[in-house]
Symmetry: C2
Subunit: 331 residues, 2 copies
Amino acid sequence: MNIGDIAEMAGVSRAAVSRYLNNGYISAEKSEKIRKVIERTGYKPSVMAQTLRTKKTMLIGVVLPRINSDSISSIVAGIGTALNASGYEMLLATTDNNPEKELEFLRIFSNNRVDGVIFIATVFTKEHRKILKNMTIPVVIVGQQLGGYSCIYHDDYGAGRALAEHVLATGRKKLAYIGVLREDVAVGQQRLEGVSAAVNEAGLTLPPERMEIAEFSAESGHRCMSRILSASPDIDAVICATDGIAIGAMQYLKESGRRVPEDVAVAGFGDNVISSVTTPTLTTVHLYYREAGETAAKRIVERIDGREKTTVEIKQGFKVIERGSTKRGPS
Amino acid sequence: MNIGDIAEMAGVSRAAVSRYLNNGYISAEKSEKIRKVIERTGYKPSVMAQTLRTKKTMLIGVVLPRINSDSISSIVAGIGTALNASGYEMLLATTDNNPEKELEFLRIFSNNRVDGVIFIATVFTKEHRKILKNMTIPVVIVGQQLGGYSCIYHDDYGAGRALAEHVLATGRKKLAYIGVLREDVAVGQQRLEGVSAAVNEAGLTLPPERMEIAEFSAESGHRCMSRILSASPDIDAVICATDGIAIGAMQYLKESGRRVPEDVAVAGFGDNVISSVTTPTLTTVHLYYREAGETAAKRIVERIDGREKTTVEIKQGFKVIERGSTKRGPS
DNA sequence: TATTTTTGTGAAAACGATGTCACACTGGAG
DNA sequence: CTCCAGTGTGACATCGTTTTCACAAAAATA
């Protein structure tokens, strides 16, 4: 069933059918004939042929480290909603946090497989920049800032600062920090710098023996907490770069006989669903992941449609969510 | 840059280049010439043209209710891994639990947009069956059983039965059950029937006033628990159709002054990450979501490649995960 | 040496749409 | 009556591959 068959059945030319489907630039009489034939046969134009001819796939590639994560699946949910509203679909590529795979997918996607790419990034290597520079299709980066590219990211510095200020306001003096690798600028560097700034402004310090670098998991948070406690048993608060890490840290604190929040306050980032069901509930910073996904999708569609030519860098706000794990300690 | 340009540059015919890229049925001399030109120009064949010609998109459509869910994102992670290994990519369509959208996407996908569809299903209407019947591409259903189609699902009945047996073995006598709509055969019907069977075999009953129907959320579980308690304040255990519901139920129990597990035992299904960080930790049934996704992806690739012609129904096992919320009560 | 089989080859026909073009109608204005 | 703008139309080229086909050259067989 191709456009030629329909044309023949309706007694018109192939071009007429094409116009019927697109411009609508056709006489009422033929239009009706064609409509009937299409209805009767259930004819659907071939997406493949349209794609070849128009050079539009109506597909957006989404590259992400892993899908099985609360924050990332929220971003994807947002992307899905917004893309759908514009008639685009989403090609998902999970990289398992493997930079090689990340590069491979960016390369695959840059080859006309999709009309645009949304890149949920963690770390940028030179290789990344090189591939991104050579991309011929629009790219929007989510979660990290990268000059010269459209990106939508969170105010990680501000969030870190506000969260630390909140913890300090509960009267804590000896803070610890469990972060992630600095190569991850947003999560590893910005959040720490925000926290550091608040701590310093309060006239306090965050010495190296009260800091650890974790992976993105509760198990890792658990391990790091144990290391910090053996070096500095007298801390009265710990801020963790993600809620997952914070959960692990909190578990270790409880195992070590400390009370949360009476002895040690705990706080995280991300407002993971988990954080409202722990005991105590976890103070965290909400980061508008879903909205970031929606905005990214809208931006890329605007870029593709040509409605928007410039790249923009959007920094999103945050909201400190005060819960049980940082209730006022001994004053 | 198309195949013709490469052919011209290498001084061979277009067909020769095509053969070089595919069969390899070409003389060593020309092969080398072509290799050089391709390397120098960085030529990549057009995916669009290949697709039109070969009728293979190397895409698998994945239709799911929502991505922002622990169980579903685990399935998707599994699908992603397995598809990737076979060179396929994944087109994600989230339906927000809207049957209309589900049907729409199945229709879109059935129109040559993808080579196969993985359908993470909840409820089957007649409309669903009709569309599924008319699908010309392979379909694999995940999470529900549907005769005549390849599907991979969980032993929800067995899981319900085993979980209830475990709860009963801790000495509980007055069980309550919070389920979901029976239209969802796997989660709503099978799990309940398994639980019922175990309860009946123990010579006990599960009367209507100790049963509620919830949505897939902790809030809903919270509400249902409150309704059950006002009708039957003396229950000593509650089994919930999902971990999310169980979390909500447990929260209400605690708010009402009851101790978990001393006064009331709580158990759920799914082994959500959340269930190991609540206080107490939640007894649940592990359901191998990731593996289900992997298997589904492998099956569909086999069907597409023609290595496998028949449809199969695969029932996966389960594992009761005994945690704090069902520790032995007063004996 | 004569005959078959194997290889390598380029021309040309799909694949199924879109878009350009020139042409033939209209009807209204001059 | 002529001219022109505006519509509707089908023929045809195009998109970039793959695949079939016929044919020639080389190799293997008799």
